[in-house]
Subunit: 230 residues, 2 copies
C-alpha cells in the first residue's frame, strides 16, 4: 500500500497511444580491441525519461549505449556501442515514432581506422590519432519527412544557453534541453539535474531535482507542444 501510494502520482495515461524513441548513454569508438574513445555519460537522464514516458502510457523504444543500468519496466531496449551503430538503430526504429528524444552523449569523432589487433607502442614515441566525424543522428532525424517532434540535449561546460539556442536552430530541432556539465552537483555522474528547456518561441527552466522528477517535467513541456494528432 505504501509503494502504491508513492508510485501513484508517477503513473498515468497522458502519453497513451504515443510512440517515443529515446537515445541514452555514451557511445564508445574503438581504436583497437582494447582502447576506445568514450564520452562521460551514466545514461541516467535518458533512462529516467524512458521510465517516466512508459509509466505514463507511451510505447517507448530506448537505444542505449554502454551503461550499467537496468531496463525500465515496459521499455523496449536496443543496445549499441558506437555512434554509427546508434545512428543505424535510430533510423531503423524511426518510422511511426511521434517523439524523438536524444539524450545520448554521442561521440562527435571516431578513429579513421579501427585496428583488428592491439596497437603496440614504440619506446619513447607519441601517437597521432586521426579522427573523423561521426554521422549526426539528431540532424538526420530532423531532416526526415515525415518527422517526429525532435528534442535534443546539450551538455555544455560554458555558455550553456547560447550553445543550446544555436543547436536548436542549426539542427532544426523542435526543442532542446540544456544542462551544464563539469560541475559537482549536476550532470552525468549525478542523480540530480537541472535543465534549461528552449523551443523556438519560448523556454522554461526545470529546477534542480532528482532525475525522475526532471524527466516528468520535461515530458509535460513536450506534451504541451506536440501538434494535434501527434
Amino acid at each position: 500500500a505504501i509503494a502504491q501510494a508513492v508510485l501513484a502520482p508517477m503513473q498515468g495515461t497522458a502519453w497513451a497511444g504515443r510512440r517515443v524513441l529515446i537515445t541514452a548513454g555514451p557511445t564508445y569508438e574503438d581504436l583497437d580491441p582494447v582502447r576506445y574513445l568514450g564520452n562521460r555519460s551514466s545514461g541516467r537522464m535518458g533512462y529516467a525519461v524512458a521510465a517516466a514516458a512508459a509509466a505514463q502510457g507511451a510505447e517507448v523504444t530506448l537505444v542505449s549505449g554502454p551503461v550499467t543500468l537496468a531496463t525500465p519496466p515496459g521499455v523496449r531496449r536496443i543496445d549499441v556501442r558506437s555512434a554509427e551503430a546508434m545512428h543505424a538503430a535510430v533510423l531503423d526504429a524511426l518510422p511511426g515514432q511521434h517523439v524523438f528524444i536524444a539524450t545520448a552523449a554521442v561521440a562527435d569523432f571516431r578513429p579513421r581506422e579501427r585496428q583488428a589487433s592491439k596497437i603496440k607502442k614504440q619506446a619513447g614515441s607519441g601517437l597521432a590519432l586521426d579522427l573523423v566525424q561521426n554521422p549526426d543522428i539528431l540532424a538526420d532525424v530532423a531532416a526526415r519527412q515525415p518527422r517526429p517532434f525532435v528534442v535534443g540535449f546539450a551538455a555544455e561546460t560554458d555558455d550553456v544557453e547560447r550553445y543550446a539556442r544555436d543547436k536548436l536552430v542549426r539542427k532544426k530541432l523542435d526543442m532542446i534541453a540544456a544542462n551544464r556539465v563539469g560541475t559537482d552537483d549536476c550532470g552525468f555522474d549525478s542523480d540530480r539535474n537541472a535543465l534549461a528547456v528552449l523551443w523556438h518561441d519560448g523556454g522554461a527552466q526545470v529546477d534542480m531535482a532528482d532525475k525522475a522528477t526532471v524527466a516528468r517535467r520535461l515530458l509535460e513541456l513536450i506534451l504541451a507542444r506536440l501538434p494535434d494528432g501527434a
Copy 2:
C-alpha cells in the same frame, strides 16, 4: 553452516603477515570535461585477486581505476582515474609492500593537453589528436631498490605468450600472467578467465575457470616463488 562449508576452502592464513599492492580496472585519460580515452577493463580479475589475497590473510591495498565493483572485505581501496594518478598512488603506497600485482589496463597514451572546456567540432573537419606516452608503472616499480616481487599482466590479442615473455624480460618483472582478450568467453568482460603464467625459468597454465578460482591459483604460484622472508 552451508555458507561456511563453501567458504572454508577459500579462507586461510597462507598470506598472513604479507603486504600486497594490486592495481585493477582501466584508466581514463580525459581530453576535455566530456571526452576521454579509455581501456576496456571491468576490473574483475584484479578485484578477484585482491579478495583472494585478503581472504588468505594478506594486508591488501587496491589502487583502482573507474569500475562498478564493490570493495572486497578487508581491502584498502584507493580510487584513481588517469594513468598518472595511478602511477602516483602506486609509488606512494609502495614502501613496505612484499608483492606488487599489476592487473590494471593502464592507458599507454594520454592527450598532450587536457582542455578545460568542451572541444567544439568544426563542420566537415576531422581532428588530429596528439597523444604522449604515460609513465610506465610496472617498469618504475621494478626499478626500485628494494623492490617487491613484481607480477605483471599482459592482455593481448595475438602472439600472447611471445609478447608476455618479452614484457617479463624487458620490464624486469618476476612473473607475468598473460591472457588473450578479444575473444567471447575470456578476458575483460567475462566472469571467467584462463592465464599463461610465466617466470624466468618456468611457467604454468591456469585453466579456464571463474576469476575467483583463477585468482587463488595465481596466488599459489606467486607464494611458491617468493624469496624466503618475503
